[in-house]
């Protein structure tokens, strides 16, 4: 196992030397997750159209060409977890969890987790569940849980935009500035997305501020 990791690391090092690993928001950011269902591309947190709600977007499996998107799937052994600190100590007080099973994305929480840090378990009961929207669908399938949590899961346009290729050229020393206009490296690509809209009252945010991070966790 250790030697395999060294080999993988060595290959990754070579890939970086020749400019093979992408720099992006978080797409393909480390050897372990590159091209894996656990690879996070982006996380977004914003006020919903209904100002009483907050939206959490967890995007994974980036740079999907349209031709590859129909075959893209969520992994039943990957726990997608939005971690929320509501008292400023950068330790999660609440988690919102999403895990795929039998065509559905099941949401757990927001719930106070029984363990914090880099090991997780599914916490509590399902609070919302939605059929994963197939690539062929003309409109997104959404569902609302009993406590007002809305959920969507399925392929979406990658909302990230960046002239990544020119940034790489700058870092490599083959260019000294960005182009104007730039070229969006992520145009025309898709991601596997989980979107959860949560009533703010469920977040216990007594200070009006929360700290959020997104994790993916592989079944041990």
């Amino acid at each position: 196992m250790k030697s395999r990791k060294i080999v993988v690391t060595a290959i990754a090092a070579v890939a970086i030397t020749i400019g093979g690993i992408l720099f992006a928001a978080d797409h393909n950011d480390s050897p372990t997750v590159k091209n894996q269902p656990t690879d996070i591309t982006d996380v977004y947190v914003f006020q919903a159209t209904d100002p009483n709600n907050l939206v959490f977007v967890a995007n994974t499996q980036g740079l999907l060409a349209p031709s590859a998107t129909a075959a893209a799937a969520f992994d039943p052994n990957t726990l997608i977890e939005i971690k929320i600190d509501n008292n400023g100590d950068n330790v999660e007080d609440l988690v919102i969890q999403a895990i795929y099973a039998n065509g559905k994305m099941n949401i757990y929480g927001p719930v106070s987790p029984s363990m914090t840090g880099t090991m997780s378990k599914v916490e509590g009961a399902i609070t919302a569940s939605v059929d994963v929207t197939p690539y062929s669908a003309s409109s997104p399938v959404t569902a609302t849980g009993s406590n007002g949590i809305k959920v969507f899961a399925g392929p979406r346009d990658d909302p990230f935009f960046f002239d990544l290729d020119q940034f790489k050229a700058i870092l490599a020393g083959t260019a000294t500035s960005f182009n104007n206009p730039g070229t969006d490296t992520f145009a025309g690509t898709n991601v596997m997305s989980v979107v959860v809209e949560v009533p703010k009252t469920l977040l216990n945010a007594t200070t009006g501020k929360i700290n959020v991070w997104l994790t993916t966790n592989k079944k041990v």
Binding site: P31, S120, K121, N179, N180, G182, G208, N211, W213
Partner: protein, 177 residues
């Protein structure tokens, strides 16, 4: 008779526990839960990709935010000053130590009481909206100097919006291509 009843009750009780344990084992028993080990994490955009060396990227992804600053702060400061050797302060008035102090605990700050924006000139780190040009914000804070005007070729990638229009209703993200 009474003894027999107690005996049967105990047997039933034992079975009851046994069944409960079996049932929970297949889901998530607190005594023997299915565990999930962290593989990747992200909060602010591009922190791992820009500031962390190739050798440490997996480690960054598996370090809890509360431990990141102590583990990666020095490396991130070195990287900042390698990217921009002329860095003094940035548009937020942050020295290298102050800027890295913010970045090296990688959490996405969000407001639950108002406008959510990565940076819109007024709101600083109150969330991340879909149309926020987070890359230009980060480039400006890294390369733009105290008033954002330094290194003008490096402070915007001149890609200012997504290629697809976002939805005005849930789930907000555009349909796939």
């Amino acid at each position: 008779m009474k003894q027999q009843l107690i005996k049967y009750s105990l047997i039933f009780f034992a079975f009851g526990i046994g069944f409960t344990a079996c049932k929970k084992d297949s889901n998530n028993n607190n005594n023997n839960p299915t565990l999930y080990q962290q593989d990747d994490q992200m909060a602010r955009p591009a922190i791992n990709t820009v500031f962390i060396s190739a050798a440490n990227k997996d480690q960054f992804n598996t370090t809890a935010p509360k431990d990141m600053s102590a583990t990666f702060g020095a490396e991130m400061k070195t990287k900042l000053l390698a990217l921009n050797p002329g860095y003094t302060t940035n548009l937020l008035g942050l020295t290298p130590d102050q800027f890295i102090g913010v970045l090296s605990t990688d959490v996405l700050n969000a407001s639950t009481t108002g406008t959510t924006s990565f940076y819109d000139g007024t709101h600083v780190l109150t969330g991340r909206a879909l149309n926020d040009d987070v890359i230009d914000v980060e480039l400006t804070l890294i390369f733009g100097g105290p008033d954002g005007s330094a290194n003008p070729g490096l402070t915007s990638d001149h890609v200012n919006a997504n290629d697809a229009a976002f939805l005005t209703t849930f789930p907000y993200l555009a349909n796939p291509h």
